[in-house]
């Protein structure tokens, strides 16, 4: 059995290079087809009638007029939504309709009469006192002796901070096309979980998993919200059956996409911090609360990254009548990061310390990666010219434009998930890799090809990558938790090494060598110690005769030490923002945003950087614009559209600088670590602290809108600096 490991850095031909995504030309030219582009012969369209109330009991449903409409092929009351059922959030689906086209389906919805009995609701949780019995406090957690530590602390600060519920807002909304052939179901979904959907569709539909096929080439955003078939996916399959098995297409309307297909929980906290005069943080206390819908919301990992020796933590989950939470990139970390680093930054300001010095002073609280953070902080500081541009809180420059710097740092896991790759070497030399994974637009296809190319000593273009089909291709985990790159690269590497072992056994006699003396490099199979003795790749593979070599490689979710370091978990990462705030209007503009990010061995520097850039854009969005808005009285959503659910545009993001941490043998030796989550965690902290540094006062709640910035300035005592 080969020893599974990455080639030494000096011997890498492909890994670490900047290679454009192999599917980019298809995407920019429109050739790439997403599930929402799928059009099957005879396809019908499903729409769902949604409950307008936040909390209600269904009294009666009359679908007869809709059923009679020409063009309507099926009408079905959704599972558990019949008369007597309780609806827990506005826009939850109640009745599904399938018709010959979208317009007919929509018109049919207008003809359905549902009577509701309204029940009391709660949709906004910021005011914990108003949450009544919806608030469910958890047991307090105490470490060390916080009371004593606060007594002994030389400086104590206390503040309220918060960040509201935001939504995933996938540009390709949730949905799929389902198609029956007898009892066999083919699904064309928009998903982050190709392999995992097989069983998830089979089970509720009561068909054998072997009857389900999943097909997906591209997905227009998931961010953690697309792992399951969703209630509407299963309903669509039922509706399709009811309509005689014709293919049915269902994609959520924008309002449902924003308000029922996933949200990130809010987080509010009152935080108290104690420190010594020299800046050493000694005591932490918080009471936090959050909602992620009807089940409340869990506690974020507070305090974040830095573990304070003495702490008291209290959390209250608030159940609201709002669409339920789903994983949103780095679940609970962005909230924790913002809350922690806002409070710490306020402490630094109280101590009159440069916050960079303050963090360096406390860096040992970051534990095992303290030194990495220290070096990353210094690198980020250099890139943003921290020492040159930083000033104490409140830009002293005259005029209404105030500039400021802020920072935050983060951590995440990112070990590769369980994944299997099937690598085929054909006698003609062509190579393909099949994996039941998905490419969320991040470069998964490209990375698989690069790993196979590196391993087999071939150009990247020689590798055909097949993904997005289940169960046709070997099972690979869902793309969540930054686990994909580690999973697919380790599996592909193993498959490649296994394949070479078999290939070398066939080729060795022709080179009068032992298989163990061979290597595949530069399009040749050659003797490691005597490269002149070689066979070009195609001549080598011709030795396979007429039978392709089909070999698997598996990455297990839990690593075994004997495996060599293909993938690992645990990263740091530092971000720093430079903003300008117009103190007369409260408008925040991004000048520059720096991200320094480690992720172990970097397979493709370009796609790695893209991940960071995309995260930074998302971070600017939730720092400055994004917020779910509900009307308290009616419990209905008010910004379930892309007009008032604001996102940053290209003109709003400023200059981005990404520094991938790569000149560090220690980090490289750790193997591949996922990158989907880490860089999206710290923007709130970096931007929020930059705003405070600019205007001289904390804006306690994200997003940092004109209303909130002006309110903070007013509290400070007027609009002049």
């Amino acid at each position: 059995m080969p020893k599974y490991e990455w080639p030494e850095k000096s011997k890498r031909a492909v890994l670490g290079r900047r290679i454009s995504k192999s599917d980019s030309p298809d995407k920019v030219s429109g050739r790439a087809k997403y599930a929402s582009d799928v059009k099957r012969p005879g396809q019908l369209y499903a729409k769902f009638l949604r409950c307008p109330h936040a909390h209600a009991k269904v009294v009666s449903i009359d679908v007869s007029a809709a059923e009679r409409m020409p063009g309507v092929k099926a009408v079905k009351i959704c599972e558990k939504k019949g008369p007597g059922s309780e609806i827990l959030w506005a826009l939850d689906e109640v009745v599904g309709v399938v018709a010959v086209d979208e317009r007919t389906a929509e018109d049919a919805l207008q003809k359905i009469v549902v009577k509701y009995e309204k029940l009391p609701h709660l949709v906004n949780e910021q005011d914990l006192a108003g949450a009544g019995d919806r608030a469910k406090p958890a047991a307090e957690q105490v470490t060390g002796d916080p009371d004593k530590a606060f007594q002994e602390a030389e400086v104590v600060i206390e503040g309220d901070y918060g960040i509201p519920v935001i939504t995933h807002c996938c540009l390709e909304s949730h949905g799929q096309v389902v198609e029956w052939e007898g009892d066999n179901l083919t699904v064309y979904p928009s998903t982050q979980n190709v392999s995992g959907l097989v069983g998830q569709f089979a089970q509720p539909l009561k068909i054998p998993a072997s009857n389900v096929k999943i097909r997906m080439d591209h997905v227009g955003g998931g961010f953690g919200s697309k792992f399951s078939p969703d209630s509407w996916g299963v309903e669509s399959a039922h509706l399709s059956k009811q309509a005689g098995g014709k293919p049915v297409k269902t994609f959520l309307e924008r309002d449902a996409e924003l308000f029922v297909a996933g949200v990130r929980p809010s987080h509010f906290a009152r935080i108290k911090l104690g420190a010594k005069k020299d800046g050493t943080v000694t005591a932490w206390e918080h009471h936090s609360w959050s909602t992620g819908g009807p089940t409340g919301g869990g506690m974020a990992p507070l305090p974040y990254v830095l573990s304070v020796p003495n702490s008291r933590k209290k959390h209250t989950a608030v159940a609201t009548n709002t669409g339920p939470q789903r994983a949103w990139r780095a679940p609970n970390h962005p909230q924790a990061c913002w809350l922690t680093f806002a409070a710490l930054d306020d402490m630094a300001a109280k101590l009159n310390m440069d916050s960079l010095d303050f963090y360096l002073k406390n860096i040992q609280l970051a534990g095992e990666r303290a030194d990495l953070y220290r070096r990353e902080l210094l690198k980020a500081a250099e890139l943003i010219e921290w020492k040159k541009k930083w000033h104490p809180r409140g830009d002293p420059a005259p005029g209404h434009l105030k500039r400021g710097l802020g920072l935050g740092f983060h951590t995440w896991g990112g070990r590769g998930h369980a994944s299997e790759a099937r690598l085929t070497i054909n006698p003609d030399g062509s190579v393909s890799v099949d994996i039941g994974t998905q490419d969320l637009g991040v470069g998964t296809r490209t990375v698989i090809a690069m790993v196979a190319a590196e391993t087999l000593g071939l150009p990247v273009s020689a590798i055909k990558v097949n993904i997005g089909r289940a169960p046709d291709y070997p099972v690979s985990g869902g793309s969540g938790g930054s686990t994909t790159v580690g999973g697919v690269s380790a599996a592909t590497r193993r498959a490649g090494q296994n394949a070479l072992e078999e290939l070398f056994a066939k080729v060795a006699p022709a080179l009068s060598a032992q298989p163990s003396e061979l290597e595949a490099v530069g399009g040749k199979v050659q003797m490691r110690d005597n490269p002149a003795k070689n066979l070009p790749w195609r001549q080598a593979t011709a030795r396979l005769g007429v039978t392709p070599l089909v070999v698997s490689g598996k990455n297990a979710a839990a690593a075994s030490a004997a495996d060599g370091k293909l993938t690992d978990q645990g990263v740091g990462g530092v971000q720093m923002a430079d903003v300008t705030v117009d103190i007369e209007t409260g408008i925040v503009k991004m000048n520059k945003f720096v991200a320094v990010q480690d992720c172990g061995l970097i397979i493709n520097e370009k796609t790695a950087e893209s991940q960071v850039l995309g995260s930074m854009i998302m971070g600017v969005c939730y720092s400055l614009f994004e917020e779910r808005v509900m009307d308290e009285v009616t419990g209905r959503p008010l910004n379930a559209n892309m007009e008032f659910y604001k996102l940053a545009g290209i003109g709003d993001i400023g200059d981005f600088v990404v520094h991938m941490w790569k000149d560090d043998p220690e980090q490289d030796a750790r193997g591949v670590i996922g990158l989907g989550e880490p860089p999206v965690i710290a923007p709130g902290a970096a931007i929020g602290n930059a705003v405070a540094n600019a205007i001289g006062v904390r804006v306690p709640q994200a997003p940092f809108t004109p209303a909130r910035v002006l309110a903070a300035l007013e509290k400070k005592g007027g609009l002049s600096s």
Binding site: P52, R103, E106, D107, Q110, E584, T585, G586, I587, L624, F625, V629, M630, D631, E632, V633, T634, R636, P637, L638, N639, A640, N641, E643, F644, K646, A648, G649, I650, G651, D652, T705, P706, A707, L710, A711, L719
Partner: protein, 329 residues
């Protein structure tokens, strides 16, 4: 969207004949950038849609230094923005047009459509009603999510802000609207074109359901300095949070007469005579502009969550004045 009958007349007479005696039965379609999204949300559910884009007579932009500027209601916002005479003679209008984004919206959206677009109020657009109320009949907006709502002219039942960016500039520049109906043309000052509705079926302009806005006429702007300043949180695909358009007739360095109009602060574009009077006979500097800005928001009565807009409107007026004073005549 409901099924509807579609008509595409080529003359204004035909168009008016195809419209209905009451609102709701028929709707005028120009660029469709607003009407289509309204119809998709079942806000209007017209039986007939009358596309007026083929009426040649209502297209185009014409300028003469003697008679001024004539804007066909069907001219697009992009045509307005790229018109050299507009940029030179009526900077307030060009600056307002520039704010409307994206380019796609400017290419499709018409001047008439911009003035007749319906309120962006998120209660209205979410289907909660033109004058949304709770079960007890109490207005929802004054104590609800009113961060983007009116701070002036907001005694109810209308609390939305008029969304047009072009309207304040046109009013500052003393434009007239020419309206065509079955009885022929009639003319109103753009300032009087907008009305605050009081009843549920009302609209936001003086147009009757069987009239169309045909053209806008601006007097020559010789000796007038004008500017628009918009407070925008985002660079594109968004409306201003508050805006001001000003036009100054100068005598040397001092203001002979001024027109100051706020946008996005009231159910109609909000002309402030208090600000105009505060400027008379004064030179524009930081102080006088600031004072006029404060005068512009005289009488503002913020709702529960939109107090910050008073400050934004004040600053918008101040900055528009400074910008106008700096710009050429």
């Amino acid at each position: 969207m409901n099924a509807f009958e579609y008509a595409a007349p080529t003359t204004k007479e035909q168009a008016v004949g195809l419209l209905a005696d009451r609102w709701g039965d028929a709707e005028v379609l120009a660029g469709g950038t607003d009407l289509l999204s309204l119809m998709k949300d079942y806000l209007p559910t017209p039986k007939r849609v009358v596309n007026i884009k083929d009426i040649k007579e209502l297209q185009g932009i014409k300028y003469s230094s003697a008679t001024g500027l004539r804007l066909g209601a069907l001219a697009t916002i992009e045509e307005l923005l790229s018109n050299a005479a507009v940029k030179k003679e009526y900077p307030a209008l060009a600056q307002a047009a520039e704010g409307v984004s994206s380019p796609q919206i400017r290419n499709a959206g018409t001047i008439g459509g911009d003035l007749c677009q319906r309120p962006r109020c998120w209660y209205f657009r979410s289907g909660l009603g033109y004058f949304p109320k709770d079960d007890g009949g109490k207005d929802l907006i004054p104590t609800g999510q009113n961060e983007y709502h009116a701070i002036l002219g907001n005694s109810g039942p209308a609390y939305f802000v008029h969304p047009s960016s072009l309207a304040p500039a046109l009013i500052a520049l003393d434009a007239k609207a020419r309206i065509f109906g079955s009885a022929g043309w009639r003319e109103v000052r753009v300032e009087e074109f907008f009305v605050t509705p009081n009843n549920d079926g009302d609209r936001e302009t003086v147009l009757k359901s069987n009239e169309i806005l045909g053209e806008i006429i601006l007097p020559p702007a010789k000796g007038i300095r004008s500017a628009t300043y918009e407070v925008r949180q985002k660079e594109a695909l968004d409306w201003p949070l508050a805006a001001a358009a000003v036009a100054l007739k100068m005598s040397g360095n001092t203001v002979q007469s001024a027109r100051v109009v706020l946008g996005h602060v009231a159910p109609v574009p909000w002309r402030s005579q208090a600000a105009e009077q505060a400027l008379g006979g004064k030179a524009i500097d930081e102080n006088t502009a600031s004072e006029a800005g404060s005068a512009a928001v005289n009488g503002a009565r913020p709702l529960s969550k939109n107090g910050y807009k008073v400050q934004l409107a004040r600053v918008a007026a101040k900055r528009a004045l400074l910008q106008a004073a700096q710009g050429g005549a």
